[in-house]
Amino acid sequence: MQVAESAQQAQHSQRSRLFDRIMSVIFLICAVLLVAIILSVIFFIASQSWQVFVQGGVGFFQYYFGSFWDPTGASGSPAYGAGGLIIGSVVTTVLAMVIVVPFAIGTAVFFTEAAPQWVIRILQPLIEVFTGIPSVVIGFLGLVTIIPVVQKISAPITGNLPTGGYGWATAILVLVIMVLPTTLSISIDSLRAVPDSVREASLALGSTRWQMMWRAVIPACAASLGTAVVLGFTRAIGEALAVSLVLAGAQIPAWPWSLAVFFQPNVNITQQIAQNFQETAGTAQYAYWTLAFTLLVITLIFVSISRFLSSRSVYK
């Protein structure tokens, strides 16, 4: 009787140990799935993107340095010059970040070092809401509020262009709204990671508050602030629909440019993909895949930089 019971118990515990093993394998598969996803994203997009050079017979140089983009051949013969789109992405991203960085870091410094409690209580939830704001909503906001203003301001420059207001300038402002909350919240995290002893040491040496922020706290987390900026770049260059709504162009304006180039319909990488990818096939679609792969490589570089910077940061 007792023997049978203990045998049953042994069997039971063996079964539950087996079950434990099976569950751990299932969990392992789910964790590895993440690696599988990122590898297959890179693999499938790469495998589509080189086709434009192989099957389409487009020259590498012609693709990246040509400035006329018309893969479907709407205006005669197809043209695969992605240079203009890349310039569009670079210009809007860089200028947006030039505006974002001082605002994000300035706000983050004030927020963590000097802000009274009530400011924190108001701003904290606002930042959280805005990091998740849908990009089309900001795009819509750009259409109904920013474009009319930009159009009015730029009227003397563009010569009252009816489509004035669309273009890089508005796209930059939209990107600022999209990227600011992300950069801000990562900056706040990195400033908060600096231990109070750094602040106290600086103040005890007789620093003013500003000296404490500028000479002690910011250098102490410079690397992780760098991460915040790089992740802002990643977000800005990949931003698609908001920018697409306010760019509304088909080609980059012809060289030479005046200041008006910022205030007329224009292009970037994501806008062209969002607008045209679905309606294409064959070589034209491969051309869009190459754009996607270019974007993917750029963001991979940014992620690597941010990883390098965060490995260099002292306080995490």
Binding site: L28, L123, V136, T145, T208
Partner: protein
């Protein structure tokens, strides 16, 4: 003699003192100016955020109180609301078990070291991939290669790829918030690892897990770029079915279509399109605020419980 010697020393002292005074004055002026500039920057950012929320809600308000806006005609968003919540639930059904399982492996089973680093690096990389590019990937792999077509299922799987890194991180944090004593107690009583996780770790971490689910829900509701190629921009005749293999639009993609590629082709006047778009924006903002508030409420509940215990 001594008096004559002392005089220049005093003068030098005075010079030094006044130099020091000037220095402190300069420092304090710099300090004041810097703090004023910083507070103005903060004020500008805060005002921008508040203005955007108020503007969007006020702009959409007249649409929100129009009954046709909630109907099923071209000017109504009932199908889009249904689709949005359908895709939200479908995605969460796949996302939560998969990413929770991954997080359980990383926190409970995996030894510290290289393997975790690889997974984290993969997660960081995947979360850096633009959602538009991920949408193209989803179109190729799920819609074309896996023969799902442009469908809700393809959209949900793409959203899984998009939100996996975030969900994994949130769930990892949730599991890490469970004190080790509880695990050790369960294991000491002879429970297998899985039993300890199921009966002790998961119930303790549940509120934080729910917060994580809510936060990913916010991201899913707001996502658009990943969906335009995988779920399409149009609805079939009847959207109010649970069929996962039909294309459909959501609040966000419909807003994009109305003001972007589809402007002027929807059978609405331009003013009507703008009104509907404003209404959708207001709905999205209100949903987002609700999601945030509930996540905060749960967070406060957790804090209360841990401080009471």
């Amino acid at each position: 003699m001594s008096l004559q010697e002392a005089l220049p020393v005093q003068a030098a002292d005075e010079a030094r003192v006044s130099a020091l005074r000037r220095l402190t004055q300069r420092l304090s002026v710099t300090n004041t100016i810097a703090l004023i500039i910083l507070s103005l920057i903060t004020l500008a950012v805060g005002a921008l955020f508040i203005w955007i929320i108020i503007y969007l809600i006020v702009e959409g308000f007249t649409t929100l109180i129009t009954p046709t806006f909630w109907g099923t005609t071209e000017a109504g968003i009932a199908p889009q609301i249904f689709n949005t919540f359908y895709i939200l639930i479908l995605t969460e059904i796949i996302l939560v078990p998969v990413s929770l399982a991954g997080a359980i492996y990383l926190v409970e089973y995996s030894p510290q070291g290289r393997f975790i680093d690889v997974i984290h690096f993969a997660a960081e990389t995947l979360s850096g991939v633009p959602s538009l590019v991920l949408g193209m990937f989803g179109f190729l792999v799920f819609a074309v290669y896996a023969h799902m077509g442009i469908s809700r299922l393809a959209g949900a799987l793409t959203l899984l790829c998009l939100n996996f890194p975030l969900a994994l991180r949130l769930f990892e944090q949730a599991l890490q918030s469970v004190p080790n004593d509880l695990r050790e107690g369960a294991l000491a009583l002879g429970a297998t690892k899985w039993r300890a996780i199921r009966t002790v770790v998961l119930p303790t971490a549940l509120p934080v897990i729910i917060t994580g689910v809510i936060l990913t829900a916010g991201k899913i509701i707001g996502e658009s770029a990943a969906l335009i190629f995988t779920m399409g921009l149009f609805n079939p005749g009847n959207v109010f079915t649970l069929n996962p293999l039909i294309p459909s639009n959501t609040l966000t993609t419909w807003l994009y279509y109305l003001k972007g590629p589809g402007a002027g082709t929807t059978g609405l006047t331009s003013a009507q399109e703008t009104a509907v778009a404003a209404g959708i924006s207001a709905v999205l903002i209100i949903l987002l605020l609700l999601i945030n508030l509930s996540a905060r409420a749960i967070g406060r509940f957790i804090q209360l419980r841990t401080t009471a215990a």
